[in-house]
Structures are given as C-alpha cells and as structure tokens.
C-alpha cells in the first residue's frame, strides 16, 4: 500500500494545480466517441444477431463506460488506488449477480404450477 498521504505522487501532473486538467481535445474526443457508440448500439439493435446480442450491447456499453471513466473521470491520471476502488466494485457486483444466477436453474420449471392455483384477490 503506497503511502500517498502527503507526497504529490500523481504522474502527469498539471502545472501547480491539485490534479490533472483535462484538455479540450480529450473532452471533445471522448464526447464524439460516446455519441458514435450510441448510434452503433441502436444500429446493432436494429439488426438482431441472435444470442450474442446481449453480449454485443454490453460490450459497447462497457467501452463507453471505460471512456467516461478514463477521460471524463480522470482515471487515466489518477492515483492507482482510486482505479482499484472503481474496478473492485465491479468484482463484487459480478460476485453478487454470478452466485445468484448460479441458483437460478432451481426455480423455473415449477412456476407454472402456481398459475393453476386461483389467485388470492383481496377484496378490492
């Protein structure tokens, strides 16, 4: 664990400021990329590719997310620990969704049984 308590150890440091100053080209460039990818997402949605659709859509969204993260949120010029915090949170999200999905097979076949039972409509 680096002792970043007081040292200005951030690479690519701006002039005398506390943190990196995003350049206009990088801002506009990122914005352009995001708009372009949004068009791509909608275009892909219009031409369904079957099962891998969900992964393509998630892939594009992740590219957009990393663009926002790196340039708009200065993760490119930020201390390693902040990047670790951001990426670490996704690890726990995947643990949560992954293990919950692992149990999913148990549920489906018997839900139709519940349809047969009359619904308990509380007196309206």
């Amino acid at each position: 664990m680096s002792n970043t308590a007081h040292a200005d150890a951030h690479g690519g440091h701006g002039t005398h400021g506390l943190a990196h100053v995003a350049s206009v080209p990088s801002l506009l460039g990122t914005f352009g990329l995001l708009v372009l990818l949004t068009f791509v997402t909608v275009w892909v949605a219009k031409h369904p590719l079957g099962a891998i659709d969900i992964w393509v859509a998630m892939g594009i969204a992740t590219v957009k997310a990393t663009a926002v993260g790196l340039y708009f949120m200065h993760l490119r010029h930020d201390s390693g620990f902040n990047r670790l915090v951001f990426l670490g949170s996704f690890l726990f999200v995947f643990i949560f969704i992954g293990f919950a999905m692992m149990d999913r097979g148990q549920y489906d076949p018997t839900i139709q049984w519940q349809e047969a039972l009359p619904k308990f409509q509380p007196a309206k």
Binding site: Q114, L117, P122, A123
Partner: protein
C-alpha cells in the same frame, strides 16, 4: 413459581428417548451417517477448544505478571508456524466438506422406488395427499419403504423437519421442493415446522407414524378415507375438520382463534363485516369453504386469513363437514 421449579428438578433428567445425549433416535436410513459426521466434527472441535483453553490457563498461570514481572521479548513472527496452523486445519476442514458433500448428495437424491406423497403447508397445518388420493393430516409410512415428499405451500414459507429422520426441506410458495427418507424404526415421531410462519408456528406439527411393512394399506383402508370405515357423515365431517386443518383456526368450544368458533354456528344469524346479517346455512358454509373472502364475519380482518379450499375438498367432504357442524352445539 418456586415449587414448579422444584417439581421440575425431580423429573427424570431428560425425557427418555432411545436417542443418545445429543440426538433423537436414528429412525431413518441416513441418520447414522449424519450422526457420525456430527461426531467427527464434534471431536475435532472438542480437541481444539480444550487445547486452546488449556494453553490459555497454562500461560495465564505460568506467565502471570506477579510470577513473571518482565515479559521476555520473544520473536514476533514465524512464517513456517503460521503456514502450519493454516494448512493443517485447512486439510481437516476440507475433509469435513467431503463428509458434508457425500451426506448431502444422498439426502437430496430420492431412490426410484420411492412412494410420492404430496405435502401442502398452510398457515399452521400440514396436509398429506397419498398416492390413492386420500388426504390426511398425519403422515403414515411403512418401515424400510423409501418415501418422497413433494412439498409446496399456499401462503408463506414453511419447513418440514422430522428430527428423528434428520432431514428438512422448506415448503416454498410458487415451487415444489422435494425431500425423501427411508424409515428404519416403527413408532410415532413429530414433524415440526422450522421456518417462521406466524402466530401458531410453534404448534404447526404433524404426527408421522411408521407402520410395520404392509401396515399402511390396512390403515389407509380404515382411516384413510374419512367417509369409509362405517362412519356417519357427521363423524366423517369431524375427521375432515381435523385433517384439513380447520381445527388450527376454528375451535369447537366457542373460543375465538384466527377464525370464528363452530360452536352452535349452524342455523344461527351471523353479523357480517359489511353490516348485513345472514343465516349460517349450507350455502353460507359451502361458499365460505370455497371462497372465504366472499362473506367475512364482523370482528375479523378486512381480508380473511383463510386460504381457499377450492380443489382440496371434494363435494362429499363438504357435505360431511356440514353434517358435522349441525352436531356442534
């Protein structure tokens, strides 16, 4: 209060069951395996607990500040020792996992020749539907005949647990869950609900009776069919009153439980929640059984806590219940 405590002290220490100190009797095929798993972990745990307690007492006496005023500066880390007391317990733990894994796969794979009994759990009563369609509030099985229970619940979560058989499974609304066992001891055991389900969660018990081989058919013939065995409709109605779990909410002695009491109900003028009064005749009873929300007696919740019995009681059962209610004065 004091004398009741003293009376308790004279009672036999622990009610005598054939089980040993820790367990009820081993009344199912996998009970002995589970108990042996328990004892393996028990002795490993006892070893660690006693060693740690011993070391604590030994160090406290030996290095007490009076006897040892100046602490010695021993080494402050020893990686091989740390690895030793991580990996060795780790191996013992993995062996425990393997024991658990074997037991669990056995617990959760019913044999092909298992007889299936459907179990419906509702707020505070179990009802068992036997293969020949008989519905009863007791589970009757035969010795050495594997039984598979298909559990489902009509309202909230419940859990079916027979301590003597060492097996347990939740009854979840909206899905079937399965549970199996092979009884190896004749006699009567309690099946208890172990998933909190409300007011009478602690009384939601079902009797499990293990017959000698062949005894089940005899019982089904006599007891199974409430209308059979020479019983009058009123007597059949009384049996259905117990089997279908009506007793859990409606008493016969006039006292109010979750539902109104049946004492003197038949033919009486009943005051409804919406102010109207009706006579408690056959149609009212039939409608209240099949659609409890239709007419709710005043003094009871806006939404009736009674589940519908549509599809769970046949017409002759309703006729028998009505005959029985006539006799309840």
């Amino acid at each position: 209060m004091l004398n009741s405590l003293l009376a308790l002290a004279q009672q036999p220490r622990i009610a005598p069951t054939e089980g040993d100190f820790w367990f009820p009797p081993q009344a199912s095929s996998f009970a002995s395996k589970i108990d042996s798993d328990y004892y393996f972990i028990y002795w490993v745990s006892a070893f660690f607990v006693l060693v740690i307690a011993g070391v604590l007492v030994l160090f406290t006496l030996k290095y007490h500040s009076k006897k040892n005023p100046k602490a010695e500066r021993t080494s402050t880390h020893n990686t091989p020792l740390e690895l030793a007391w991580s990996i060795l317990p780790g191996i013992v733990l993995l062996y425990m996992f393997v024991l658990g894994f074997e037991g669990y796969t056995d617990l959760r794979t019913p044999p092909s020749n298992a007889v299936n009994v459907d179990v419906t759990a509702q707020k505070w009563a179990w009802t068992f539907t036997y293969p020949n369609g008989v519905v009863h509030d007791e589970l009757h099985v035969e010795k050495d005949q594997p039984i598979q229970l298909t559990l489902s619940s009509v309202d909230v979560l419940h859990s079916f647990w027979v301590a003597a058989f060492r097996t347990k499974m939740d009854a979840v609304p909206g899905r079937y869950t399965k549970l199996w066992f092979t009884p190896t001891m004749t006699g009567e055991f309690w099946a208890q609900c172990t998933e909190y389900c409300g007011t009478n969660h602690s009384n939601m018990r079902a009797k499990v009776v293990v017959h000698e081989p062949g005894g089940l058919a005899k019982w089904l013939a006599v007891e199974g069919d409430p209308h059979g065995g020479g019983r009058t409709p009123a007597q059949a109605g009384e049996k259905i009153y117990k089997i279908q779990g009506c007793a859990a909410c409606h008493t016969l002695d006039g006292s109010k439980l979750t539902g109104p009491s049946f004492k003197g109900l038949f033919g009486r003028q009943e005051q409804m929640l919406d102010g109207s009064t009706i006579t408690a005749d056959e149609n009212y009873i039939r409608e209240s059984i099949l659609n409890p929300q239709a007419k709710i007696v005043s003094g009871y919740g806006p939404v009736s806590a009674m589940p519908t019995f549509q599809g769970r009681v046949k017409d002759n059962d309703i006729a028998a219940l009505i005959a029985f209610l006539r006799t309840v004065k």
